[in-house]
């Protein structure tokens, strides 16, 4: 069993009294892909900077592969690759030169650096433009070059801050696919932050939902969905021609699997664990009601996101 590689304990960062990160406790296993999700300004970047030892925490500790990020940042930086959200390259240097520069800062000799850079540029699909100046690169190409840049030091962990920002949908899925396959092939632990759940949920083993400096929930996406969907994951809306009465409501309530039911004159809102639309329709029709409208809505990942990000409104944001 792989062990814990990142251990965050009660990590707190205060900015002029404002808690940007509040007592964050989290551990990440070796080899997993962890997604740190949250809206802009939730404290994701601050957390990442503290992990890298680039910002000092106000209190709490981070241990990466046994090293304390605050006290031994050099050891941490040796094994962690970090891709900032606005990755910058030396524009008047070529892609290859930029990579070789990073490699040499990591103590790799020039010759080896060139070899490694060539291989990585091939992996990320930039071989054809390796001798072009980075100034001419598109956002997607920069992002791929950024990935090569974090990989050139042969890291155990890579931390990607908003890696999908500003790339087109096709580019995003290619890029994330690349991250996933690299992580699986080389056993690299990946921590990525994003505010777009639907983009990263495909590759993350686990996610943590981070809002206003607080970690609201951690787990596999299905588990998080389960937590939300305890209240029922199907919403059924029914409208009838006649006015609803107590008797019919009792009949409907008697069905198993209903978690919540509300009615208004001629309308009914039901939350259920499964799709009960046809039995309900049958009851209504058998009791002499004429059905005007019946619709069902299933909760999706988007709703999980809305649920947590929207401050936990119980019904999420309906369509």
């Amino acid at each position: 069993m792989p062990g814990t590689i990142i251990e965050i304990n009660k990590l707190t960062k205060l900015y002029n009294g404002y808690r940007a990160v509040n007592e964050l406790t989290l551990s990440i296993e070796e080899g997993e892909i962890f997604g740190l999700l949250g809206p802009n300004g939730a404290g994701k970047t601050t957390t990442i900077l503290m992990l890298m030892g680039l910002t000092e925490p106000s209190s709490g500790t981070v241990r990466i592969a046994g090293y304390d990020s605050t006290r031994e940042p050099l050891q941490v930086k040796r094994i962690v690759g970090y891709l900032p959200d606005q990755v910058g390259f030396y524009e008047n240097r070529t892609a290859l030169e930029n990579l070789v520069f990073t490699a040499r800062l990591n103590g790799i000799t020039e010759e080896e650096a060139r070899k490694a850079a060539d291989e990585l540029l091939d992996t990320v699909g930039l071989t054809e433009v390796k001798n072009k100046k980075v100034g001419t690169f598109s956002r997607g190409m920069r992002q791929r070059l950024g990935l090569a840049d974090v990989l050139i030091k042969n890291p155990k962990i890579i931390i990607l801050d908003e890696p999908t920002i500003g790339i087109d949908p096709k580019g995003v899925s290619d890029f994330l696919g690349l991250i996933k396959s690299l992580s699986r092939e080389r056993g690299i632990t990946v921590l990525l932050s994003s505010h777009l759940l639907n983009q990263v949920q495909k590759i993350c083993d686990r996610v943590g939902i981070f809002i206003k400096g607080n970690l609201k929930a951690v787990g596999k996406i299905e588990e998080l969905a389960g937590e939300l969907l305890k209240e029922g994951n199907i919403e059924i809306r029914i409208a009838v021609k006649e006015e609803l009465n107590e008797k019919i409501m009792e009949k409907v309530k008697a069905l198993s699997g209903i978690t919540e039911i509300n009615s208004r004159k001629r309308e009914m809102f039901i939350k259920a664990k499964e799709d009960l639309s046809s039995p309900i329709a049958k009851i209504l029709i058998d009791s002499g009601f004429s059905l005007l409208h019946l619709s069902t809505k299933e909760y999706s990942l988007e709703d999980i996101y809305d649920f947590y990000f929207g401050g936990g409104a119980a019904d999420g944001k309906a369509g």
């Binding site: 050099l74 930086k77 103590g107 010759e111 030091k153």
Partner: protein
């Protein structure tokens, strides 16, 4: 097997490369070279007059190459005192903020190297570039003169010139560090460039004007006013450098202050040897180096404490 370079050396190497290939550096070097050649040509045309006046006690003809002028184009020391700050500021004004704005700073600092390597490498690289260019220009002038005039410098003159070039590097390094300081304070490189130019303009144009105004208000006595102005002049890096280089390249200057008649009585009107000239300007040298490092220390502190955000 290639020896692996330390991260610091790699950073310095990259910085030097950036400077040498940058247009701003080439343009600056071009301006300084052109003016240096211009002043040299003027000198070569008037040096005969100087040579005619030479006597055995004052035979420092070679130093005139750096200090003499025909009135049309200023002498080399004045050109350097004027353009040196521009060179220093131009090399320093954007070193930190451009990296910050481009986002390269967080990428570099995510590599296993101490944070101060970043700012130190900028300083060391710029200093090396300045040193090489100043010495090349200085030696070019000397070499050219030896070729065309057929006179060569004495050891004393050579030492004076070499020390003049070394202190010129420190002088430019002061402005470089001022530029680096502004580049850590201001996040826009245009603001930082303008701030540096404002300081330069203040010292070149307004400082002496201001001091004259203050001095005239305080002192009635011309003698006291003169002392006050000389002292105040030394608080300006430009004034300090001008006094330093003038004394260093003019062996006949025997003192930095006004002398009374009693002190002058019986003195022989001879020139000073190099070591005595150096002693005369020692406080200037200390002041100039101190100012250089104070600027850098402030920039260093600000940089080390600042938040690194992408």
């Amino acid at each position: 097997m290639e020896r692996q370079a330390s991260p610091f050396a790699v950073l310095v190497q990259k910085e030097i490369g950036d400077y040498i290939y940058s247009w701003k550096f080439l343009i600056l070097l071009g301006i300084i070279l052109l003016t240096a050649i211009g002043s040299l040509i003027t000198i070569l045309s008037i040096i005969k007059d100087y040579a005619a006046n030479i006597d055995l006690d004052n035979s420092f003809l070679f130093l005139n190459l750096f200090t003499a002028s025909d009135g049309n184009l200023p002498p080399f020391i004045t050109i350097i005192s004027f353009l040196g700050p521009i060179m220093g500021l131009a090399l320093g004004f954007d070193v930190i903020n451009v990296e910050r704005n481009r986002g390269t700073i967080s990428r570099v600092l995510a590599q296993p190297l101490p944070r101060d390597y970043f700012i130190n490498s900028k300083f060391v690289a710029a200093l090396l570039v300045i040193g090489v260019s100043i010495f090349s220009i200085g030696f070019l002038i000397m070499g050219f003169s030896i070729l065309t005039l057929g006179i060569y410098p004495t050891l004393d003159e050579l030492l004076r010139i070499i020390f003049f070039l070394i202190f010129t590097c420190f002088y430019i390094a002061f402005w470089l560090n001022l530029g680096i300081l502004f580049s850590t304070i201001f996040h826009q490189s245009a603001t930082s460039a303008l701030a540096g130019l404002a300081v330069w303009l203040f010292y070149t144009v307004f400082y002496s004007m201001l001091m004259n105004l203050i001095g005239n208000a305080i002192y009635d006595n011309q003698m006291d006013l003169g002392v006050f102005l000389t002292r105040m002049n030394r608080l300006s890096p430009i004034g300090l450098y001008n006094e330093l280089t003038t004394i260093l390249l003019t062996p006949s200057i025997r003192t930095t202050t006004a002398l009374t008649f009693e002190q002058l009585y019986g003195a022989l009107p001879s020139t000073l040897p190099f070591s005595q000239s150096l002693m005369l300007v020692w406080p200037h040298i200390c002041g100039l180096i101190a100012a250089t490092f104070i600027c850098f220390a402030i920039a260093y502190l600000i940089f080390m404490r600042e938040e690194i955000r992408a």
